[in-house]
């Protein structure tokens, strides 16, 4: 198990390195010049000389390899550089200020998804073709079909037009004002987690349907165990592995997928930062955000794999 864990940890290094090269190269290959963006904001006037000066200041006039070596060197020292868009502001601070909010949103979304999806999937499995099952399947279908950004807009428009209410403006951090924070985060988390809820509910249903037909379930019932115990201890416990796998993947997706939802609900996380910086061609910040997201997804996958070992002795002893 330890060797397995070490191997998985060691794999993080080439993965992140590869991501860094891809991100850096793609950003430089994309058309668009940050100096032009800065000078042209609001269709402002500038001269060619000013444009070249700014390119020199930003360092974007240097060869791409030198720019990469500089950047990766800084990354290893924990220095992600300074933002082009927000002149002089350290990227580490920009990203650091916001990452917890995105993490909070993703955690809340996955909690909402799992809390709703697992009971729905289980009930649907044990009562196939019942009203609840049909309801669950419709919800799952709608959830999978509606894009996250549309779900977000629907929530906003229904609440503002239908009820004249929206979560309070002006983001409050969880530890500063927990109640306001929950009001602000619940709806984006719901919109964000809707797709995942649908997906997890479907997986739970099919997984449970398979398990309730297993011999050991029949044996458990034959022993006279209460149905609740049979379903939870023997059924759900065995069905949890695929659910955990999917939830882990979904959490990674959520972490990277907050971009639009954060923008719609005004959550100042790294998603909104990514949108702002992409439009401004702020290469150092974009690179940092993508690296952070990539590393997070790699770590989440690692944790899920390690959790497998804890939950399933067959993997632990293999």
């Amino acid at each position: 198990m330890r060797q397995y864990a070490l191997k998985r940890v060691a794999l993080i290094i080439p993965t992140v390195l590869l991501v860094s090269i891809i991100v850096f190269t793609v950003m430089r290959l994309l058309p668009g010049d940050p100096a032009l963006v800065i000078l042209s904001e609001g269709d402002a006037s500038f001269t060619q000389e000013e444009l070249e000066d700014l390119r020199r200041q930003l360092g974007t006039d240097r060869p791409i390899v030198i720019q990469y070596v500089d950047w990766i060197g800084g990354l290893l020292r924990g220095d992600l550089g300074t933002s082009i868009w927000r002149s002089g502001r350290p990227v580490t601070k920009l990203v650091g200020d916001r990452i917890f909010r995105t993490l909070e949103l993703a955690v809340l979304a996955i909690i909402i998804a799992v809390v709703f999806a697992v009971p729905l999937g289980v009930i649907s499995a044990i009562k196939p073709d019942s009203v609840i099952d049909y309801f669950s399947r419709v919800i799952a279908l709608v959830g999978i079909s509606i894009p996250t950004f549309f779900a977000g807009l629907l929530v906003v428009l229904v609440l503002s037009r239908g009820f004249g209410w929206l979560p309070p403006l002006g983001y409050a951090d969880l530890w500063d004002d927990p109640w306001k924070n929950i009001q602000q985060m619940f709806l984006p988390a719901l919109a964000l987690g809707f797709y995942d809820m649908a997906f997890i509910a479907r997986v739970t249903r099919s997984s449970m349907m398979e398990i309730i037909r297993e011999d050991y379930m029949r044996t458990a019932r034959a022993k006279g165990l209460a149905e609740r115990i049979v379903l939870v201890r023997h059924g759900l416990k065995n069905a949890v592995l695929p659910i955990l796998t999917i939830s882990g993947w979904q959490f990674g997706r959520l972490f990277g997928g907050t971009v639009i939802i954060e923008s719609i609900f005004k959550v100042p996380g790294i998603g909104t930062l990514l949108i702002e910086t992409v439009f401004q061609r702020d290469f150092p910040t974009i690179q940092a955000i993508i690296i952070v997201i990539a590393v997070s997804i790699v770590i989440i996958n690692l944790l899920v794999d390690l959790l497998y070992g804890l939950l399933d002795p067959r993997i632990r002893y293999a």
């Binding site: 010049d33 609001g42 002149s87 503002s160 309070p168 002006g170 609740r228 909104t272 439009f279 401004q280």
Partner: protein, 628 residues
């Protein structure tokens, strides 16, 4: 089986329902309550003296000699007059209240040095003052801000400003001539980007530094010749030539006076943390909090040097970049107004917002200061042929462009956007006439004849390029329809992300390059409503939108002649001639199309607002107040 699960299920459902109810009913901070204007004691307070000052153009500078002051040569044109119902206030200005404003984008810079960012100037404008500013009521008129008065020497090349006495920074230090000189020399220093804070550079004696070649030593060597401290309350500016436009570029919100004592210590005032930590601002409001990407909040400066101003106790700016979210927040009453004439909505969406809120919110028209045009790459065939360019200018249907692309909110215009020949006058010119009139038909026939003469009787294939910003794509598709129908010019429209579009246009800049684009739909924004801004934006070599470096001795001559002409009428006459020549298209690269319109969405209970001439100034918010 299900029965055994029921208790758990019911408990779960109850918990979830309670959570939903709790969240849905949790709007503890109702917008009305948050304004604070409802507080009886404050809401009824009517400070008579400040009110009088505010409406009577306070702090107007001593009028300079008439010969040296150039008012805008032509009043800003009216565009398809559309009056929004604004009820009269029930009384004079009232103090108090917290106003919630929507910002269309996040703040990029907190220091005006090199800043060209509209979203940024909106933020820092409340914190600092300029020497002069545009008047709150007569919004094209320059009046004093930190300057109590000023005079100009007889030949118009020297401006002497007299500062208000007793103005202090919020850290207690005196604001004096040293701060002005330090700030202006930063903006004027050629080592620094000009941005919009340094637009006045083009008129002043150039600032010289020790080493400009590789910028190793940017110490100013001729400070006294450019901006000079006479005494603690007097500053002198020296111009390279007399110019009435100079003072306008000094009046825009970008040209702020910053605390020299902090700049000299090397404190980076571009970082909001440093502004918060050092607390040395002079403006009507003091920064209380900034949360990147979400909001910033400012409080009334109790020691503001303008008696009785500002009226609001506090302004909370929320950064709302998504149009749907902005609409929803306005409809839910979560914001009282936008903090600029920029909200990412189309004209129709702005009108609809008035309707959906039962006119509780008014979308005030602001002359956008942006001229929309069709750029022609004169370095490439067939646009190197002036007959083709002339034909295109004649065949474009400005009325259709306005109706379809700008939702009828704009107005067709000639090259100098009503600052030379009036818009009414130029509407009768060839190319400007509606295509369904005899004049318009004549224009089409002439355009077709020109195409035949140029060797393209059946038109040609071309690629249009647009940036995925605003209405550019819609504009190009309308133009494409016209040119295809009338001249047989056809081809695809290429849409590019904003930065990619600029990069592509830039490929035509180098002298030996032809550029990777042929035709493009683009606008040029004016900081101030003055022809100099249009020349510098479109019609001079190196101008922002002159990507092919098109240049003619005629236009250069007119520009030089008019920029030193101090008599507004004489200057207008020069520009009228230039405009006729430009519109004739015997040689031009920019087909002028339509003047756009921007909207400043404001709740009807907020008073004291007067639309500025362009979207680029008027952000101190010191004259606004709640009539609640």
């Amino acid at each position: 089986m299900l029965s055994s699960l029921k208790p758990a299920l019911i408990v779960g459902l109850v918990i979830v329902t309670l959570m939903l109810l709790g969240v849905a009913c949790g709007g503890a901070e109702a917008p009305a309550a948050s304004t604070g204007a409802s507080a009886p004691a404050e809401a009824t307070e009517t400070p008579a003296q400040p009110a009088a000052q505010a409406t009577a153009v306070p702090h107007t500078a001593t009028p300079p000699p008439e010969a040296t002051v150039r008012p805008t040569s032509t009043p800003a044109p009216t565009i398809a007059a559309r009056t929004a119902p604004t009820p009269l206030p029930s009384s004079g200005p009232k103090h108090g209240g917290t106003v919630r404003m929507a910002a269309y984008a996040d703040t990029k810079d907190w220091d005006p040095l090199g800043s060209s960012s509209l979203s940024s100037v909106i933020s820092y404008s409340q914190l600092y003052n300029q020497l002069v500013q545009f008047d709150n009521v007569d919004t094209g008129l320059v009046v004093g801000d930190l300057a109590e008065s000023w005079e100009v020497n007889p030949d118009g090349t020297q401006y002497t400003f007299h500062l208000h006495d007793g103005v202090t920074w919020t850290d207690g230090e005196a604001l004096d001539a040293d701060d002005v000189v330090t700030s202006m020399l930063r903006y004027g220093n050629p080592c620094n980007g000009r941005g919009r804070s340094g637009l006045w550079r083009q008129y002043a004696i150039p600032v010289e530094v020790v080493n400009i070649t590789d910028k190793t030593d940017c110490t100013v060597t001729n400070a006294d010749q450019v901006v000079r401290k006479i005494d603690d309350l007097t500053v002198e500016f020296n111009l390279a030539f007399a110019s009435g436009a100079f003072i306008k570029f000094l009046a825009i919100d970008y040209a702020k006076v910053l605390p020299g004592h902090l700049l000299e210590q090397g404190i980076d005032l571009n970082q909001s943390e440093n502004i918060l930590a050092h607390g040395a601002t002079s403006g009507p409001f003091i920064l209380e909090e900034y949360q990147s990407g979400n909001h910033y909040k400012v409080n009334r400066n109790p020691d503001y040097f303008k008696d009785g101003l500002p009226y609001f106790d506090r302004i909370e700016h929320f950064i709302i970049t998504t149009p749907a979210t902005f609409i929803a927040q306005v409809e839910a009453g979560q914001v009282d107004m936008a903090n600029a004439a920029a909200n990412n909505l189309t004209a129709t969406e702005n009108y609809d917002l008035e309707t959906s809120t039962n006119s509780e919110y008014v979308a005030h028209d602001v002359f956008g200061g942006a001229t929309r045009g069709l750029m022609l790459n004169i370095k490439r065939e067939p646009f190197d042929n002036h007959l083709v360019r002339q034909a295109i200018n004649l065949a474009v249907d400005r009325q259709k462009h306005n109706a379809r692309a700008l939702h009828g909110a704009g107005r067709g215009h000639c090259p100098l956007v009503g600052l030379a020949n009036s818009l009414e006058e130029c509407e009768s010119w060839p190319g400007m006439r509606p295509k369904d009139t005899p004049g318009g038909q004549e224009d089409i026939a002439k355009a077709q004849a020109l195409m035949a003469e140029a060797g393209y009787p059946d038109g040609f294939e071309v690629q249009y390029t647009v940036r995925q910003v605003g209405t550019y794509a819609a504009e190009c598709s309308v133009i494409k329809q016209d040119l295809e129908e009338y001249l047989g010019i056809t081809g695809p429209i290429e849409t590019l992300p904003s930065a990619a579009g600029y990069a592509k246009y830039g490929t035509a800049r180098p002298p030996d390059a032809k550029g990777d684009w042929e035709m493009a739909c683009q606008a040029d924004g004016m900081t101030v409503y003055d022809v100099d801004a249009i020349y510098a934006g479109i019609f001079l070599k190196g101008a922002t939108r002159n990507y092919t470096d098109w240049e003619t001795p005629e236009v250069n001559g007119w520009f030089e002649e008019q920029k030193v002409e101090l008599d507004p009428e004489k200057r207008r006459v020069i520009n009228m001639e230039a405009e006729r020549w430009l519109h004739d298209f015997s040689n031009n690269h920019w087909v002028s199309l339509t003047l756009g319109r921007n909207f400043w969405v404001i709740h009807r209970d907020i008073k004291g607002f007067h639309a500025p001439d362009t979207v680029q100034y008027g952000f101190k918010q010191e004259h606004l107040w709640f009539d609640r």
